[in-house]
Amino acid sequence: MLNGIGASDGIGVGRVMLIAEQSLDYTPREIADVDAELERFRSAVDKFCDNTMEQAEAIRQSTGEKEAEILLGHIAIIRDPFMGGEIENLIKAHQCAESAVDQICKMFIDMFSATGDDLTMQRAADVRDIRDGVISVLLGVQEVKISDAPEGTVLVVKELTPSMTAGINKENIVGIITETGSQTSHSAILARALEIPASLSVANATTQLSSEELVIVDGFKGNVLIAPDAKTIDEYTAKRDAYLREKRELENFRGKTTAGADGIEYELFCNIGTPKDATKAVEADGEGVGLFRTEFLFMDRDRLPTEDEQFDAYKQASLILKGKPLIIRTLDIGGDKEIPYLGLEKEENPFMGFRAIRYCLKNRDMFKSQIKAILRASAFGDIRIMFPLITAVEELRAGRALVEEAKADLKASGIAYDENIQVGVMTETAASGVIADLLAKEADFFSIGTNDLTGYTMAADRGNSDVGYLYSPLQPSVLRMIRRIIKCGREEGIPVGMCGEAAASPTMIPLLISFGLTEFSVSAPSVLKVRKNISKWTKAEADAVAEKVMAMTTEAEIKEYLESIV
């Protein structure tokens, strides 16, 4: 078995088509007739652009507008006056066109690769593709026709170029294996758009695999199985069919409002960890972000992020969401995380120690700069602030006071922000559940963090195999806690959401509907599944289930019953 990066979901079973690299070797030579060589270069560029237009058109029809644009970008690059000018300068200095194109492209490839920025580094791949394309035209090399691939073909290439993608017939290509690329590279984006399972960055794939060999591409895990036996093929074929069936079913829920069988509507948000994830939330058809964890800004670095750095990140996420709600959770760290520059001491019991809102309220400057950054970003979208680990009303008050202070500072400096920004509580401690009635009077919203709520209520660490059995959101105590939090929120007229894993659990959904939850925040890949599960329930049916469940006395009983009905 070969290992790579799973970059496009699905399973492909088929025979290898090895795309060998064409030799683009040339011998640099001195040019006597500069004008003729310039003409040769310009007509090669024209030809290259014609080919690219044709390929872009093919991609537009087979895949989509966005993917075609990648190729049209190649025309913009080769037509760039600066690039063209530099190439022509070299030709005027009597270099041959191949050599001139090669050198100038290399200059940009090096420049882009050196930035260390993901998006810019991808442009290096574009320039490489362009260089190969133009030099191929100059040398008169024919490109391989992938369009002729027979049914059930697994493409094996060093790098999947956009121009290659143009030739892909979705019906015939069942898998893609490359030696380079990452989750975010063109190869991955194109493979996902084409909905072809892909495993990228498989070391030496082009030498380890040979044409006509039977392989299985596992696009989930990135594995490639070589010459599998009949049993393995059956197993993977079944997996593939189940995946495709479910995917088709879920796609019916894309673009729909999230509503129960009785038409009652709910909000369905996503949990994200970086601004980039906001794109995933939008692509997954999330209606907003119910939990934006901000720890990424503070991890893997040697100093605190500045207010501006944080502002950039929050604003970026907000702009991607285009006005959809974005709930930003303030810093949630403690002695269990390695952030050397914060000087957090190792604690006996970090989960009950100096962390999250407790740490932030003691480090006011740091906390205020985060709040100011969030407020500044709130001028660009529907942003809300959420405090983690609240256990007493004073903490919420102190946090709100800091928000008001930050607002006054911004106002004094004439910086825009949302004056009515909502400030909510992540109810994730047993204490916050018990005093939910008091908190609800002073918070603008609740969001139940079921992962910690379960742990803190049961006093059980799910990672500890001796007590992990206690850790279940279906424990009668946890369900009572959840029901209470929602009830208290509703009595004060504030919305209550849930941003823990339980919000996506099919067995929890009827209970949450019955308790009166209005917003579900789940991981991006779960959005359509949750929308489908919510659509199965009317409030009345959910109430009947909840009534039964809340009369039961053990977790085992509850679990067995719920699993029997969903």
């Binding site: 970008g73 006056p81 600066f82 940009f108 420049m111 950039d312 702009l319 991607i320």
Partner: protein
């Protein structure tokens, strides 16, 4: 010579499409148009130069125009950037 500082507001920064549209638009002016960012100068008529500058959302850049139609070029450049580069 005229110049103005502006902040990039489109989410993805100066990536392929906005850079391409912007460079093409600037190419129509006879003035030299330069982007100053992080202490470097980039030719605003060159898509590749703009991309190499790696300018992200929220960054402040300075546009410098010099030539016979410098005022028009600057006004156009600023307006395009402030309106989010058509995104």
């Amino acid at each position: 010579m005229v110049s103005k500082k502006v902040t990039l507001v489109n989410a993805q920064g100066f990536h392929m499409r906005p850079a391409s549209v912007f460079a093409t638009a600037m190419g129509k002016y006879s003035s030299n148009v330069t982007i100053k960012f992080n202490g470097n100068n980039y030719n605003a008529k060159s898509l590749l130069n703009i991309i190499a500058a790696c300018i992200k959302c929220g960054s402040e850049i300075e546009i410098v125009c010099e030539g016979s139609d410098e005022n028009e070029a600057l006004a156009d450049a600023v307006e395009r950037i402030e309106s989010g580069l058509g995104e």
